[in-house]
Every structure is written in structure tokens, then in C-alpha cells.
């Protein structure tokens, strides 16, 4: 198998359970070695999409192409066992009656037993589970089970890896560690990975690309930075944290907001014509400071401690409120007058 072709391409996939439309016209391309996160609330159709790609569900329409081969099409349905797909389930689904080694060997192709064992040992080494070959799944911790499940899924040398909330049942401290190991291994093996999650921070921390899905529809696909600073709508924006939302109108090439005008090239409006600005982009200055291109001014009304940063709420001219985030510790106190600059 040419690893250059470890590509997953899905186009116009739709699927429904009876009347319920679970997935609506979803298209995505994931290149080899790329981790693509699918972010959405529970019931948004993200798990259904994974099951469609794996062949566990037959979509109503659309095509799935794995490593250049169509596996789903109008006249075609490849069975899950014949697809080059690895799947790590939310509950890991390790076979409880097989030990770690035999779990890994379960799906391994190849004729010679000795070669299989060597490959399995390499995989277990890779996921840092060497030495646990004869352990039974129920004696392992959640993180260990997850890594065995990963090794098992990798045993078939899949072109595409599907991860269904694989870190959600781990405690917070362990989660980062296991996630880093998992994604490092997948990138090293040049596999196209689709990771499903409902946790925006996990998506931000692990995805090369992120797709936001809601009610079965893809809302936005972007790299993490763009998704954070240039969300297409308010709901997507608020998924990742506090945001300033200002009504804006086009006027002679500028965007007019109640607080002042902005060049539309730097910050686009969302689909409803509102301007969305993250608090990080607002810089606060004392009124005396000579600062160029001040956008607007107001009075600090509240300062929230967030640990490494502070969220400062400023009341501006028209009584509306803006949020600015600055590094802690900060000298701003409620009642201080401030000037605000947009920092791009």
C-alpha cells in the first residue's frame, strides 16, 4: 500500500434513521498524516458519520473513498471487514476473553505466526504497552486499554483511523498524555485520522484541521487558529469561549459598528452580519497613553480572574459591553477609564 494514498475522501454523505436525518450532505477530505477533528455536541451526527465511513452503517447517499478506492457509492457497498479502516471505540471494545496480545493479533493480516507476533510486539512497543502481552483487558487501566485498542486498530495497517471520543473516559491528567502518544503514533504512521469529540479544547489541542458539525451539517472546516478567530457564526464562536458580538453595517468600504469603524478585510462578519471579535484581540490602554488607531473607549466595570489571564469587561459609549483578555496580573480596576485598540 502506498502511504501517499492514505487519504480519506467523503463527498455528499447523507444518512438518516427513519425520519431523523442524522447526517446531511457532508463532504470532507483528510490527507495522510493529518489529524482532523470532528467537533459537535452529542446527537449531532458525528458518530454516525464515523460508522458510515467504517461501513457499519449504509448511508442513504454519497460516496466514501479510502486510499483512492471507492467503498461506498450508488452501486457499491464494501463490507466493513474489507475496508482499510481502523476504529477506536469510545469504550475501547477490547475483547474481554482475549489477552492483550491476542486482541492485537485478532485483526492482523499475514501468513506467518512469527511475523504477526513480531509486528504485534512492535505495535505494543510503539504505544508503550510492551510487557503487558499476557494481561487481560479488565486488569488494565482506562489509558492502557485505550492504547491497546489503538495498537489493535493499527495492526491491519489501515489507511484511515477513526477515533470515537477515545479520550473522554480518561481523567484529565491522563488524557493529555494518552492523546499525545496516540496522535504522535498516528502521524508517524502517516495515517489519515478522523477524531470525533464534543470537547472544544480537545479539538483545539489535537486537530490539524477542525470541522464543526451541528444537526448533521458541517458548519465550518478550518485550521484551529482560523476557527478560533474567524468563526462563521455566533454558536461556533461561543463553543470556544467568550466573544464580542457587534452589529455591523457596510459603509463606504468600512464596517460601521456602534463602537467605531473597522476595515472589513481584517475581520469578516458572520452569516447574520455581526462582527465577532475575540477578547484577546482587544488591547486596553490608559486614556493618557498616546496610542495610534484607537477604536473606541469606555470604563472598566468588572475584572474576572482566569488564572494566567484576566477577563476585563468594559462598558462603552452606547452602554454595550466589550470583553478584553489580558495577561495576569493586571492593574485594571472597575471604574478605570480605558481606550481600546483592535490588535491584529
Amino acid at each position: 500500500m502506498n502511504t501517499l494514498h492514505n487519504q480519506l475522501k467523503i463527498s455528499s454523505i447523507s444518512h438518516s434513521y427513519g425520519k431523523l436525518e442524522a447526517v446531511r450532505d457532508v463532504s470532507l477530505t483528510i490527507d495522510p498524516g493529518i489529524v482532523h477533528c470532528l467537533l459537535g455536541p452529542s446527537g449531532s451526527g458525528k458518530s454516525t458519520l464515523l460508522r458510515v465511513i467504517a461501513g457499519l452503517e449504509q448511508p442513504v447517499s454519497g460516496t466514501v473513498t479510502i486510499a483512492g478506492i471507492d467503498v461506498n457509492g450508488p452501486h457499491l457497498l464494501e463490507k466493513p471487514e474489507n475496508r482499510s479502516v481502523g476504529f477506536v471505540f469510545q469504550d475501547y471494545a477490547l475483547f474481554p476473553h482475549l489477552n492483550v496480545l491476542r486482541n492485537v493479533l485478532y485483526g492482523m493480516p499475514g501468513a506467518k505466526r512469527s511475523e504477526q507476533r513480531k509486528h504485534a510486539a512492535q505495535l505494543l512497543e510503539r504505544v508503550e504497552m510492551a510487557g503487558y502481552e499476557s494481561a487481560m483487558p479488565h486488569t488494565l487501566s482506562g489509558g492502557q486499554q485505550q492504547r491497546v485498542a489503538l495498537a489493535r486498530a493499527l495492526a491491519r495497517k489501515p489507511a484511515v483511523m477513526l477515533l470515537d471520543e477515545p479520550f473522554s473516559s480518561l481523567d484529565a491528567r491522563l488524557r493529555t498524555e494518552v492523546r499525545d502518544t496516540t496522535l504522535r503514533v498516528l502521524r508517524e504512521m502517516n495515517v489519515a485520522t478522523l477524531l470525533v469529540t464534543h470537547d472544544p479544547r480537545e479539538a483545539m489541542g489535537s486537530g490539524d484541521w477542525i470541522s464543526v458539525i451541528r444537526e448533521g451539517k458541517l458548519i465550518q472546516t478550518a485550521i484551529p487558529e482560523d476557527l478560533y478567530f474567524r468563526p462563521v457564526d455566533q454558536e461556533t464562536a461561543e463553543t470556544f469561549g467568550t466573544i464580542n458580538r457587534l452589529p455591523a453595517t457596510q459603509h463606504e468600504g468600512d464596517l460601521l459598528t456602534p463602537s467605531g469603524s473597522i476595515n472589513p478585510d481584517t475581520l469578516p462578519c458572520d452569516s447574520d452580519g455581526f462582527l465577532l471579535i475575540r477578547p484577546e484581540l482587544l488591547e486596553l490602554h490608559s486614556p493618557g497613553n498616546p496610542v495610534s488607531s484607537i477604536w473606541t473607549s469606555g470604563v472598566v466595570v468588572r475584572v474576572d480572574q482566569e488564572g494566567g489571564t484576566n477577563l476585563v469587561t468594559v462598558q462603552v459609549k452606547d452602554k454595550s459591553r466589550l470583553y478584553a483578555r489580558c495577561l495576569a496580573p493586571t492593574s485594571w480596576k472597575p471604574g478605570n477609564p480605558v481606550q481600546i485598540k483592535i490588535n491584529l
Binding site: F87, H97, P109, M136
Partner: protein
């Protein structure tokens, strides 16, 4: 296109297998219905004029009587054993299941033997009080009330099991709330625990009534004419298949009504535990006089339903069992073992396929098919045998004719003349037992294991072999054992469908007892009871694991 064809063939193989198993299971029903409007050459008129009213009366009184009896014994003992602390409680919670091990017809033989005029009880009474026959009244066990008593003793464990499981599942929190609201323990039982347990109790009760309606041996021995005995007699003595089928149709109608009532009663009464906190019950300590009374009350069903009859059979077997009788029983035992083992294996295999198909292809057709496959347990054995006899003979005749024309060779009575017909009959009746056991086992296996296996390159068939089969071993063994034991003590199907001159242990015991030769039957009866203990042990183990536990892990089932 090739791929698509493969996928569809895969689906159809499973679906068709499941559908054909269901079709086979429904043959007796269809056959019975086919006979409803038929002319039975006056036999039906004869029956309606003479015995039908009696059948209806006896069957109804029997069903109602047994319901009341088993409710009284089953629910009360379950509550006492679950909630109260008294000496012997630990032993009794399992001992109360023991009467299940004795087929009701053996209970009837034992009771008659103990309580008849020349039996030990009456003799003792006469000797103590120097009475003669005319001096006292003694209840006649071979009567309708006798049959009700015997069946209640033999069948109350179904109600006991259901209500005990329900009581155990109730969190102590619910009952403690009731107590803090100023309601006493007995009132709490009536106003909280009992209503909450009602759906389970209804299920246990319906099983009891179903068994009562299907009961042949005990009722026959007590000389009470019910539908079940009537069907057998109409076929065996009057030789009218059509009239027997028509009687069967009446009985089936009653059972259908019962099932409808049950499901209606249960759908309205589904409760969800509002609290997820489960607390062990604090047992209610009984003071000595009350504890003694409770102990006696809970011991009585065990003594009368198990200890006394078993002791009787043991004494008889040791005292009177002669060498020759033992030899015959050894041979019959072999017959019984072969038939029961075959029935158990076949039923487990068919149930595994049906249940697995229901899991991987839950299409409406397969769901209906699974339901139909499990229907047989509600149908009395005699009805199944009557319903199978015609179709099996028809198949046999036609194959015989066809083979004769084509090859000039006829296979003869390869169905009704051999064990095959018997095995088919047992499947129709007991497939449900294996099916429910295996379905329960399958639901304990997460569905992601199936998905994981497919994604790792296994077909559904190989997944069954490599994942489900090893994980289900316990359930499969239980299923096979339960069918094995049920087959071993089965009477009506065996009596009607057995090949000429073929006898099983149960049949011989029944015949000897009918001829009042209980001494000779005692060894066989003991053998049946001992094997009957196996499912009781399985049930009591299941009951002790059904307790909710907070940290249950994915350990493989033993």
C-alpha cells in the same frame, strides 16, 4: 454490483435461517387453526354435549385456585425472606426454589401415596385415635382441590422467584422514605413494595397459570378433566385428530387471552427506579415467637413440596427397588439421556442462530420471527404434539412417495417412527427457554465488540465463532441444561409423538404410577428429581448475581 450482491446474500442467509426456524415453530399453531372449522364426524358434538362444560369449569377453577395458592405462598415467603431476619433465612431463600425440581406429576404421586387410606398419615391417625374408616373425614387428594393444592406447591416458585428478584431490586431508600413518612413496615409492604413489584409478580403468575393450563400428568392422576387431559384422551381414546385439534384451539384461545391481559397489565405498570442510589436493605429483626412462626410458614412449602416427597421416593427406592427394575431404569435412563441431550443441543444451536440474527439484523421480519420462535413455551405440550402429528406425517408420506417414484426406494417412517419427530416437538416447546437465556447473555455483550470485530476484518459468522461464542459459553451451557432437564421430565409430547415401543424415564414412571405401582417407579422418579435440581441451582445462582452492584467491570463471564 458484485459487492452489493455479496452484502445482500449475507443478510438473506441470516434472515432466511431465522425465518425458517420461526416457520417450523409455528407449524403446530397453523395446523390447529386449520382444523377449527372442520367436521370431526360427530366427535365434537359429542364432546360439547358431554364433557366440554366440565373441561371449562375444571380448567378455570384450577387456574384461579393455583393463582391464589401460588400468590399466597410465593409473594409472602419472598417478602419475609428478603426483608426479615430470622434463623434459617439464608438457607430458605434458596430452599424455597427446590419444589421446582420436582415435576408436578411426581408431587401428585407422592401426595396420593402419603395421604391415601392405607398411607402413613391416615394409618397414623387411625392408630393414635383407634378410629376406623367411618370415624373421621379426610380430604381426598384425587380431586379438584387436591390438584389445586399440588399444583400450587409445585408452581409457586415461579411467583417466588419473580417477586424476590423484584424486592431485591428495590432500593431500601424507597422503603425507608415510606417509614419516615410514618407508615409502618406492613403498611409499607402493601403500599410501596408490593405495587412496585407488581409487574414482576404478574410475569411470574402468568408463567404459573400457563404451566397450570398445560399441566397434564398431575391433573390426569388426580382424575380432574381439564383441556390438557381432554386433548390427550380425545386423540388417544377417541382417535379424532380433528376434535383434539378443536379442543386445542379452545385452550389456545384462553392462553392468547391470558397473554393479552398480561401484556396490557404490564405495559401500564412499568416503573422506573427514580433513585439510582442502591442501598442494601436493613433487615427487619423478628422477636422469637414471630421468628418461629415465620420460619414455620416459610418451611412449609419446602417440606410439603420437596422434602416429604423426596424422602418418600428415597425410602421406597431403597426398600423396594428390585434388581430387575433398576436394570430397566438404567436402559430407559439411557433413552432419556440421549433424547434430552439431543434436544438440548439442537435447541441451543437454533436459539443461538435466532438470537444472533436478531442482534445483527434487527429488521421487522426478524423481530417477528424471533417472537414466533419463542411462542412455543406458551403452548401446552399436548397441543404441540397434536399440531405436529398431521404435518409430520404428511411430509413423511410425500417424501416416501417421491423417493419411491424416483429411486424405487422408500425411507419409511423416518420422522414419526424415530426420535426425529420427538426432537422436533421438544424444539417447538422449549426453544423459548434456550432463546431467553441466550438473548439475556447476548445483551451483556456490548455492541461495539461486534463493530470492532467487523472493522478488524471478520464477517458476522466468524465474529459469532470468535467473539460471541467464547463470551456466551456460560449462557449456552445454561440454555442446554435447562432444555435438557425440561425434556427429561416432559410427558404429553413424549406420550403422543414417541416412536412405537420407545420409552423414556418419565413415560415409564407415569405408566407405573398410573397402575398404582409407585414402589417400582420410585427410582426413576428420584433420577428425574435429581436432574431437576440442576436448573434450580442455575436459577439460584442467577438470582444472587441479579443484585445491582455499583462497580461492575467488563469481566468475562465464567
Amino acid at each position: 454490483m458484485i459487492q452489493l450482491a455479496r452484502v445482500w446474500r449475507l443478510r438473506w442467509t441470516w434472515t432466511l435461517t431465522s425465518l425458517s426456524i420461526a416457520a417450523f415453530a409455528t407449524i403446530p399453531l397453523i395446523e390447529i387453526c386449520r382444523h377449527i372449522g372442520r367436521d370431526s364426524d360427530g366427535t365434537w358434538q359429542h364432546l360439547t354435549e358431554t364433557v366440554l362444560a366440565g373441561y371449562i369449569y375444571n380448567t378455570t377453577v384450577l387456574a384461579v385456585g393455583v393463582s391464589i395458592g401460588s400468590l399466597l405462598m410465593g409473594v409472602c415467603t419472598a417478602w419475609l425472606v428478603t426483608m426479615c431476619q430470622f434463623p434459617g433465612r439464608q438457607v430458605l431463600q434458596f430452599a424455597l426454589l427446590l419444589p421446582l425440581a420436582i415435576p408436578t406429576y411426581l408431587l401428585a404421586y407422592a401426595a396420593t401415596d402419603l395421604l391415601q387410606f392405607s398411607g402413613p398419615v391416615q394409618t397414623l391417625i387411625r392408630e393414635t385415635f383407634h378410629w376406623t374408616k367411618e370415624d373421621y373425614w379426610f380430604p381426598n387428594i384425587r380431586s379438584l382441590s387436591g390438584a389445586i393444592t399440588i399444583l400450587s406447591l409445585g408452581l409457586y416458585p415461579y411467583v417466588y422467584l419473580a417477586s424476590r428478584t423484584a424486592f431485591l431490586e428495590q432500593s431500601a431508600c424507597v422503603l425507608e422514605v415510606s417509614r419516615t413518612l410514618g407508615v409502618g413496615p406492613w403498611s409499607s409492604f402493601l403500599r410501596v413494595a408490593l405495587p412496585l413489584a407488581r409487574p414482576s409478580i404478574v410475569a411470574g403468575l402468568s408463567l404459573t397459570v400457563m404451566e397450570t393450563l398445560a399441566e397434564f400428568g398431575a391433573v390426569d392422576y388426580c382424575a380432574v378433566d381439564t383441556f390438557a387431559t381432554g386433548i390427550y384422551r380425545t386423540w388417544m381414546s377417541l382417535g379424532s385428530l380433528t376434535a383434539a385439534a378443536q379442543l386445542s384451539a379452545c385452550l389456545l384461545g384462553a392462553i392468547l387471552l391470558l397473554l393479552i391481559i398480561e401484556s396490557a397489565a404490564r405495559s401500564k405498570l412499568r416503573f422506573h427506579h427514580a433513585t439510582y442510589r442502591y442501598r442494601e436493605l436493613t433487615l427487619f429483626k423478628l422477636r422469637p415467637p414471630m421468628a418461629l412462626l415465620t420460619l414455620l410458614f416459610c418451611c412449609a412449602p419446602v417440606l410439603f413440596g420437596f422434602v416429604f416427597p423426596v424422602t418418600l421416593f428415597m425410602l421406597k427406592s431403597f426398600r423396594n427397588g428390585d434388581e430387575r427394575a433398576r436394570e430397566i431404569f438404567l436402559e430407559l435412563g439411557q433413552n432419556s439421556l440421549i433424547v434430552a441431550a439431543l434436544a438440548g443441543l439442537v435447541a441451543t444451536f437454533l436459539a443461538l442462530i435466532t438470537a444472533y440474527c436478531r442482534r445483527i439484523q434487527p429488521t421487522p421480519a426478524v423481530k417477528v420471527a424471533t417472537r414466533l420462535s419463542g411462542l412455543g413455551y406458551a403452548i401446552p405440550g399436548g397441543v404441540i404434539a397434536i399440531g405436529l402429528f398431521g404435518p409430520l406425517s404428511w411430509i413423511e408420506e410425500n417424501i416416501d412417495k417421491g423417493a419411491d417414484e424416483l429411486f424405487g426406494w422408500s425411507p419409511g417412517f423416518w420422522l414419526t417412527g424415530t426420535m426425529v419427530a420427538l426432537i422436533i416437538g421438544y424444539q417447538t416447546r422449549f426453544l423459548a427457554v434456550a432463546l431467553s437465556m441466550i438473548q439475556a447473555g447476548l445483551t451483556r455483550i456490548q455492541s461495539t465488540l461486534d463493530d470492532a470485530s467487523y472493522v478488524l476484518g471478520r464477517s458476522p459468522g466468524r465474529t459469532l465463532g470468535q467473539v460471541h461464542f467464547p463470551l456466551l459459553r456460560g449462557s449456552l451451557l445454561c440454555a442446554a441444561l435447562l432444555v435438557f432437564v425440561d425434556t427429561l421430565k416432559e410427558l404429553p409430547i413424549t406420550l403422543i409423538l414417541r416412536p412405537f415401543n420407545f420409552e423414556t424415564l418419565a413415560v415409564r414412571v407415569y405408566q407405573l404410577a398410573s397402575d398404582e405401582r409407585l414402589d417400582e417407579a420410585s427410582s426413576g422418579a428420584l433420577a428425574i428429581i435429581m436432574t431437576g435440581l440442576i436448573p434450580v441451582i442455575i436459577l439460584s445462582r442467577l438470582m444472587s448475581v441479579s443484585r445491582p452492584s455499583l462497580n461492575r467491570t467488563n469481566k468475562p463471564l465464567p
